[in-house]
Symmetry: C2
Subunit: 492 residues, 2 copies
């Protein structure tokens, strides 16, 4: 298999270049001098051009034509699955469209930010129309006669179908709406934090939390950034967090969330380094790891008991009477307009709204002009309050301005997967909470490493979740978990 | 001139990729997690491969064949001078030699470090022989019948000839040896620092020093690293420094030195951004900027008066009775084995020794086996003391292990140029010291920006220095400056 070996050498170099491109993105958000923006965009364009040229290189087509996948072992076949899929998708997009989109998105992001600042949707709508038109053109090219939205979704969640997600989300939605109504109507409401938390001490404790969750500082680092993110694969996986004196949970749970992403990348089998298998298998599975670290483990009663003691050690008395009150405060539910600030119950309602609207836009059933009304109507139906201004409504997220259609549902799919994994993990490890109550996450993170993370891109997203759980994934475990948890906290 | 425009677009992308490669080097020394070394070396190899492929791309040859330089303006002709020179040099090196050298150098650096740690030259000599053999092969290919050493020197100082440097250095050497003997034999010897200087306060003052010398923090940043360096061109020029509680001058003067390099890059005319003119014109001219910032300005009596007050404000009384005593301590001369720790008098004696020995090695007149004896004999002749161990002798510098032959003389050439520029600048600005005594460097740094830095690679190294000074560069101003300065401090 000379062709396969040659292809893998070529692919390895491309992967290395992609890692460099990712590291530049990290640098831009953390270290780059503010006056370097323009030069950096030329540097990014140069390396993107190099990577794109390699991804469409005719030699790849020649190698693919002569490789007989059936003669390869499982790893080889998985590599070929990724490479063939990426090559086919790249070639389907008309020459010029990708670079036109890149240019448009970089302008559109600025237009969106300005329109949001001015609370003026009409300042953004002509640009959003252009983005949507090009996205539909891209989708038509990718779909090759199939469903347009599925073609876009496949970029983030290979193999997923919108119709399946719709069925799952339609089962989630009414029970989440009912749960939020019960919880918000409960007599018992947890207190909010009311204290000033030193930001340097937050960073110190956040680093301890990262290590507590198994994040390997020899192959990563934690810095501050405006928006928390994780970046890189293999031996260099960096995360960021942020601090706010009034709200240390923002810092701590952003960190634990990004640690979930980071550990997934760090724990992939070293044999897959710089190959197509050396990364998380999909956005949904990635989000399942960040969410189970953050919520099912990090916001669970056992672990918050330990965190309460750590916070008392770090900040002194901050006005919480005991671990139970602290647990309730950590999990405090409140209705709000903003997705990224939402609690576990409201979060998926935000995502489901976006999924339904963007699917209609891609299908041509909802125009950009009608978007604000559709958003506001749906929001009021699910959240019980009217949107007061565009920045709290359809202008709140950056995603659509940069062409990310098909990405939103992977957030909720990740939550659904996290629910399934949590159920399977607790069945396998009945004593899990004993360790977590002592700040020892090794059983939980070890189970996730062994059953999900180590495989990287070896299996398809659905395969890896099904194998880990021993059952086909569904929304049921997530709903049971949420109803049990918040029912107990709120006594409803 | 379609061919010229196409070539410049291609060159611009290559320059952008080279900036990325440089930034990875910065990241490796400042931010990279320690476990990422191996992965990083693959990433570096991948981007180096991309850049090398572009530098040898047949299209460049095609463009060069049809471009008529005489039809271009001065900037265009200067661009072509750089591109033609680089292309010719790259093509002369046999296929495979460059990559074999890259591999050997990365191994040799480890072998050198281990041999130095073990004080065992014989553990390094077989590897150094290999490095030298390949370097001579490279030199023969580059020289095309000319002088081998000149062919290597041309990489760092285009147009310079070893014979000219030799004449200059032969004039320097006896007067430096005589000066060091007078100074070290003087009755009056400045006190050494004897105080503990808080390292966080050192970093705070070092950032103030960087700004005082005109370093633009909107287009750069200051971090700590094991070895101070500057990195990047255009709008993203980063520097590093280090701290040592006992020796704040190491921090401050490393910073001022790197600020000299950094300001040269930051102050190049914006029109040359990401073109062959968008970088310092040679290592020698670069070093002239770092050295004049550090020594003629930073260690001058006027500026040290201001620094003395700043240090008293930052650290309190640190045992210096007055500004004169402080000035003498800053400029304290002491004989030592290590080049990087040498004062202004001894530094060039270190460099001259290396220049003579490496020239003999490249010419085949000095074998690796005979290197330690040759080094030790020369050292004793110039410094008056015998080398006690290899790490204080011919194993002290990393340069030869990584094939840097022809680089050392640019350090002294930079000092010679700094001497010339200082003379010209003081003739043009007779009141210079008034500003410097108040911590105002704008007149000095403005003169250097206008007369040297802004031109980037527009002129050849010798041209830019000659135009700035109004006279042909020679070693005389440096010698006069050193003899006057140290004669006054030591009363000799």
């Amino acid at each position: 298999m000379i062709a396969y070996d040659e292809l893998m050498v070529f692919e390895r170099e491309t992967q290395a270049l992609a890692q460099i491109s990712g590291r530049l993105g990290w640098d831009q958000e953390t270290m780059m001098p503010r006056g370097a923006t323009e030069q950096r965009s030329e540097e990014m364009a140069a390396i993107s051009g190099v990577i794109h040229a390699r991804r469409t290189d005719a030699r790849v087509g020649d190698w693919l034509a002569v490789i007989d996948d059936s003669k390869l072992n499982g790893v080889g076949q998985a590599n070929m699955r990724h490479i063939r899929r990426a090559y086919t998708r790249t070639l389907r997009i008309p020459a010029g469209l990708a670079s036109e989109q890149a240019k448009l998105h970089s302008i559109a992001q600025g237009v969106w930010a300005e329109a949001r600042g001015a609370e003026d949707f009409s300042a953004f709508s002509p640009t959003l129309m252009q983005v949507l038109d090009m996205k539909r053109e891209e989708a038509a090219a990718l779909a090759d006669g199939g469903d347009l939205y599925d073609a876009l979704l496949d970029d983030y969640e290979p193999g997923a179908k919108a119709a399946d997600l719709e069925a799952m989300f339609n089962a989630l939605r009414p029970r989440l709406v009912a749960l939020r109504e019960r919880v918000l109507g409960a007599d018992k409401q947890p207190a909010a934090l009311d204290h000033d938390f030193d930001e340097a001490l937050q960073m110190k404790l956040t680093r301890k939390l990262a290590k507590t969750f198994g994040y390997d500082m020899a192959h990563g680092r934690v810095d501050k950034a405006v928006h928390p993110f994780s970046s890189g694969s293999g031996h260099d996986v960096r995360i960021t967090t942020r601090t706010n004196a009034a709200d240390p949970f923002n810092c701590f749970y952003s960190t634990i969330h990004e640690v979930g992403h980071g550990c997934y990348e760090q724990n992939i089998d070293d044999a897959y380094l710089l190959t197509p298998l050396g990364q998380g298998t999909s956005m949904g599975v990635h989000e399942s790891q960040s969410r189970i670290y953050e919520n099912q483990i990090g916001r669970g009663q056992a672990f918050t008991g330990w965190l309460f003691d750590e916070m008392k050690d770090a900040f002194g008395d901050f006005g919480m009477k005991d671990a139970d009150a602290f647990y309730a405060t950590v999990n405090r539910v409140n209705s709000g307009f903003i997705r990224t600030e939402a609690d576990e119950i409201h979060y998926n309602l935000h995502v489901l709204l976006r999924f339904d609207l963007e699917r209609m836009m891609i299908a041509g059933d909802l125009s950009v002009a009608d978007l604000p009304d559709a958003w506001n109507e749906r929001f009021e139906a699910d959240f019980g309050v009217a949107v007061d201004k565009p920045s709290n409504g359809c202008l709140q997220d950056v995603h659509w301005s940069v062409g990310l259609f098909g990405y939103f549902p992977t957030y909720s799919l990740g939550n659904v997967y996290a629910g399934c994994l949590d159920k399977a993990m607790r069945d396998a490890l009945p004593d899990l909470d004993t360790g977590l109550a002592a700040g020892d996450t090794t059983a939980a993170t070890g189970w996730l490493r062994d059953n999900v993370q180590q495989y990287g891109g070896l299996y398809t997203p659905r395969e890896v979740i099904t194998q880990a759980c021993g059952f086909e994934p569904s929304e049921a475990p997530l709903l049971e978990y949420l109803e049990a948890k918040f029912g107990a906290i709120y006594g409803v």
